[in-house]
Symmetry: C2
Subunit: 169 residues, 2 copies
């Protein structure tokens, strides 16, 4: 299948917001999504952006049933390991169901790895739902390690009232 991978620009936010919601529907957590197209535009495409994004696109003649040509994305940002230095974090990787199994996910992830290496990063990190076995297997086949299972690292989060409470001096 003919597709291309390129850096996202502000005009892609509408499609990223749409695919973001498709992914949330797939994982049955739409009520957790508070991010809008406007947020993505502001947070990803102003000075000192909070994230970067790459887009997978097909030519018009291969558009989706609903008429979309932007059919996948990976959202990432640069991060850091106090022990191993520069790292890149892939926050999201999504390919529309009708375009899966054609190498699009691999190509998106490959691009993120390339960008990380070019920036001097020595690791690519991300989280995955353990119950999403096809994704876990996809990543393990590509040489990724499950740091939670192998070393016992747990991902923790503090939000909302708990975060405001924590911020009290």
């Amino acid at each position: 299948m003919d597709f291309s991978i390129r850096a996202a620009n502000v005009d892609d936010c509408k499609d990223v917001a749409r695919m973001n919601m498709e992914l949330a529907e797939y994982e049955k957590v739409t009520e957790q999504v508070t991010i809008t197209q406007r947020d993505l535009e502001q947070d990803g495409f102003s000075k000192n952006p909070f994230f970067h994004c790459v887009i997978a696109e097909v030519p018009q003649q291969h558009k989706s049933k609903d008429g979309h040509t932007k059919i996948g994305f990976a959202l990432y940002f640069y991060s850091y390991s106090a022990w191993r230095g520069r790292a890149i974090y892939m926050e999201d990787l999504y390919v529309m169901p009708e375009f899966r199994g054609k190498g699009v996910g691999k190509a998106l992830m490959s691009k993120v790895a390339q960008l990380g290496l070019a920036a001097g990063c020595t690791q690519l990190n991300f989280t995955v739902l353990e119950t999403n076995r096809s994704s876990v297997d996809f990543y393990l086949r590509r040489g990724c390690s499950d740091v939670t299972s192998e070393m016992g690292y747990h991902f923790m989060s503090c939000c909302g009232d708990a975060m405001r409470q924590l911020a009290q001096p």
Copy 2:
């Protein structure tokens, strides 16, 4: 105990590198530490830094047995959730053993939460070794959730040859 929390500057990198190594010794993983003082200077204090850092400092009269006045740090960076937007990630939190139990760790984490809220972040994320029960309990008491235990998110990493392999188009 009298101590202050402030933003780190490039002159603090020597002490951050020292404490970084103390933490690695505590967790018995010194062989995994490849980061030097020079790396910290370059990665944290040039244009578009990969991380930010806050330092805990005591006055000269309360210096450590070895003569140190910089006695703790938290290393953090801004990150993003595709569903909930702006986030802050605390990569490391360390207080020298002889200064523990005096609120320094809480004050460092509190400062990171404050900086996150000021930047519009709605969550503070981090990882912790599950076997480090005193740390896990410290965080749970402060309202943090264990996303790995509660939702099944696993932290994955791809480094070295696997990352270079992944980057092959």
